[in-house]
C-alpha cells in the first residue's frame, strides 16, 4: 500500500516537473537521493521511476504549446507548433499520450519476448548502426529532389554537423548539460524568434477530437517502441536521432504520426533504460544510474515492481496531462501570443544561463542562428539534426579520435 502511495505522489510530482520547460529528472536527482533518510531503497527507486516516467507525458505540454522543449522532445516543437497554429494543439497532445501508452504495452511485450537475447543484440548491433545513420542522412538530403534544395539541405546539414562536432566537445560547458543550449537553440529559440517576427495568432483550439486508432498510429507506435529500445542500448544515439531515422524508414510525412513515433521512442527508451540495469547490466539514463546505486542487487521481483510503477505513473500522468492541456489551451487563447512567446524566450535563456552559464548562451546563439537560417532558406528544420547525426556517424565509424586529433581540439 505504501508503495502505491509513493508511486501516486511520484506521478503527481513528475507531472508537475514535466510542465516546467526544459526541466529533466536528472536536474533533481541529487535532491531525490536525499529522500533515502526516510524511504527504503526499494521505495526510493519506485519514487524515482514514477517521477521519471510521468514527467515524459506532461513535458509534451510546454513543448507543443510554448515551443519550449526538453532534450528528448526537441523535435516535437516543429510539428507541434504547426498543429497548434491549425487549432489542433489538443490533438497533438492526445496523439502523443495515446502513442506513449501504446508504446508502453509494445515495450513490455518486446522486452518479454526478447528477454534472453538483449545481451546478444547489444554485442552485434553496433556494427550496423553506421550504415543506418549514413542511409538516413542520404535520404534526408536526397528527399528534396531539386538540385538547389539538395544543395541548401546539404549545407544546413553540414554546418549543423560541424557545429555538433565542436559543440558536443566544448570544454567550457558541463558535458552533462550541453544538449540543452544546443537543441533549445536549434528547435526552440529559433521557432520562438520566427514566431515573434511573424506574429501569428493562436486560433480557437478544437477540443472535441477523437483519436482514430488506425493502422498508421499503431505502426508508428510499434516501430517507435523498437527504436526506443534500440536507443536504450546503443551509445551515441539519442531519442532525436532515432526519431529522424524512423521517420525516414517509415516515410512519415504527417505531423501527427511523427509525434506518435517520437513519443513512443521516448517512452520505450525510458522503460528499456530502467530494465537495462538487469538485462545488459548497463544503466542508460540518469534515473537508472541512480537506481543501480540505490539497489545493489536487482532481481526479477524488482523488475515486476518497476513495471507496476511505470504503468501506474504513466496512467496517472496521462489523465492529469489531458486535463492540464485543456486548461492550458483556455489560458493561452486569452493571452497575447506575442507576449507569451517573449516570456517563454526569456525563460529559456535564463534557464540556459543558470545551467550552462554565459558559454551555454553562446552555444544557444549559434544554434539559434542555424535554426533560423534553415527556416528562412525554406529548408526542413530536421536537417539541423546533423548536429547529432554527424557526431554519431563519426563515433560508429570509429573516426572520433582521428577527427579530434586533426582539428587539434
Amino acid at each position: 500500500m505504501i508503495e502505491f502511495l509513493i508511486c501516486l505522489i511520484g506521478s503527481i510530482l513528475g507531472t508537475l516537473l514535466g510542465l516546467i520547460p526544459g526541466s529533466h529528472i536528472n536536474n533533481i536527482l541529487p535532491f531525490l537521493l536525499s529522500f533515502s533518510f526516510f524511504l527504503n531503497p526499494l521505495q526510493l527507486s519506485l519514487f524515482i521511476i514514477s517521477i521519471s516516467t510521468s514527467q515524459i507525458i506532461s513535458s509534451y505540454i510546454p513543448s507543443i504549446f510554448l515551443g519550449a522543449p526538453n532534450e528528448e522532445n526537441a523535435l516535437s516543437i516543429l510539428p507541434g507548433h504547426k498543429l497548434l497554429l491549425k487549432g489542433n494543439g489538443i490533438s497533438a497532445i492526445k496523439i502523443m499520450i495515446t502513442s506513449s501508452l501504446l508504446s508502453t504495452l509494445f515495450s513490455f511485450l518486446l522486452i518479454a519476448i526478447f528477454f534472453n537475447f538483449f545481451n546478444f543484440f547489444y554485442q552485434i548491433s553496433r556494427n550496423f548502426v553506421s550504415i543506418l545513420i549514413l542511409l538516413t542522412i542520404l535520404i534526408m538530403i536526397l528527399i528534396e529532389r531539386k538540385i538547389k534544395r539538395i544543395l541548401l539541405s546539404s549545407f544546413i546539414f553540414l554546418i549543423s554537423g560541424i557545429f555538433g562536432i565542436l559543440a558536443l566537445n566544448f570544454p567550457l560547458v558541463n558535458q552533462n548539460y550541453i544538449l540543452f543550449p544546443v537543441l533549445s537553440g536549434l528547435f526552440g529559440i529559433s521557432t520562438l524568434i520566427n514566431s515573434l517576427n511573424e506574429k501569428p495568432k493562436i486560433p480557437k483550439q478544437n477540443f472535441n477530437i477523437k483519436i482514430d486508432f488506425n493502422k498508421k498510429l499503431i505502426k508508428s507506435s510499434f516501430i517507435g517502441s523498437i527504436f526506443g529500445i534500440l536507443v536504450g542500448f546503443l551509445p551515441a544515439i539519442g531519442v532525436s536521432q532515432a526519431a529522424i531515422i524512423s521517420q525516414q524508414i517509415l516515410r512519415i510525412k504527417d505531423e501527427l504520426n511523427f509525434l506518435a513515433s517520437l513519443s513512443s521512442i521516448n517512452v520505450a527508451n525510458e522503460i528499456f533504460s530502467l530494465f537495462a540495469i538487469y538485462l545488459i547490466n548497463n544503466p542508460r539514463s540518469g534515473a537508472s544510474i541512480a537506481i543501480q546505486r540505490i539497489l545493489t542487487n536487482i532481481s526479477l521481483y524488482h523488475l515486476f515492481l518497476f513495471s507496476s510503477s511505470i504503468l501506474i505513473s504513466l496512467s496517472i500522468s496521462s489523465l492529469l496531462s489531458i486535463k492540464i492541456a485543456k486548461r492550458f489551451v483556455r489560458i493561452i487563447e486569452k493571452i497575447d501570443y506575442f507576449k507569451l512567446n517573449l516570456i517563454v524566450l526569456s525563460y529559456l535563456l535564463t534557464s540556459i544561463f543558470i545551467f550552462t552559464g554565459i558559454y551555454g548562451l553562446f552555444l544557444a546563439l549559434i544554434s539559434s542562428s542555424i535554426g533560423i537560417l534553415a527556416y528562412k532558406l525554406g529548408i526542413k528544420r530536421s536537417d539541423c539534426m546533423g548536429v547529432l547525426l554527424i557526431p554519431s556517424l563519426l563515433f560508429f565509424l570509429k573516426l572520433n579520435p582521428i577527427v579530434y586529433q586533426i582539428l587539434g581540439i
Partner: protein, 134 residues
C-alpha cells in the same frame, strides 16, 4: 524594416562566425589540472587534466580493443577507460596495452564521468594520454 533577406544574412553570419569562434576557443583551451585525489563527483562532465600511477590494467574478454587503466595517487583511485576507437589509434601510434605497465605514471586529459560509483576520466584522442617513465 527587417526583411527576410537581412535575417538570412544575419543568421548565416552569426552561424559561421560562431562556429569559427567555437573552434578558436577549443583550439586554445588548456584544461585545469586537478590532482587525482581531489577529483570529486561534482567535477562530473568537466574536461580536466590529471595524473597518477598505474596500479592495474584491465582488459576485456569480449572486446580485446578495450582497456581500463586504474590510476592511483595519495589513497585515491580513478579509472581511465580506453575505448575501441582510441585504442586502435594508440596502436597505430605504437602504444599497445603492454605500454601501460604497473608503476608507470600516466597524465590524462578527459571528461570526468561517474561510472557505477567509480570516477573515470575519459580521454578522446591520442594526445590526451601521456605516459611518463617514473
Amino acid at each position: 524594416m527587417i526583411t527576410d533577406k537581412i535575417i538570412r544574412i544575419l543568421a548565416l553570419a552569426f552561424s559561421i562566425i560562431g562556429i569559427i569562434s567555437l573552434f578558436y576557443i577549443e583550439l586554445n583551451f588548456k584544461p585545469k589540472f586537478i590532482p587525482l585525489e581531489k577529483i570529486k563527483f561534482e567535477n562530473e562532465g568537466q574536461r580536466i587534466l590529471t595524473s597518477g600511477k598505474i596500479v592495474k590494467v584491465y582488459t576485456s574478454k569480449k572486446n580485446p580493443n578495450f582497456l581500463l587503466i586504474v590510476l592511483y595517487s595519495k589513497g585515491r583511485k580513478i579509472g581511465v577507460p580506453i575505448f575501441e576507437d582510441l585504442f586502435l589509434q594508440l596502436k597505430k601510434n605504437g602504444i599497445s596495452k603492454y605500454s601501460f605497465k604497473r608503476g608507470k605514471y600516466l597524465e590524462v586529459e578527459g571528461i570526468v564521468q561517474n561510472y557505477k560509483g567509480l570516477i573515470e576520466v575519459i580521454p578522446k584522442k591520442v594526445s590526451d594520454i601521456r605516459l611518463k617513465n617514473d
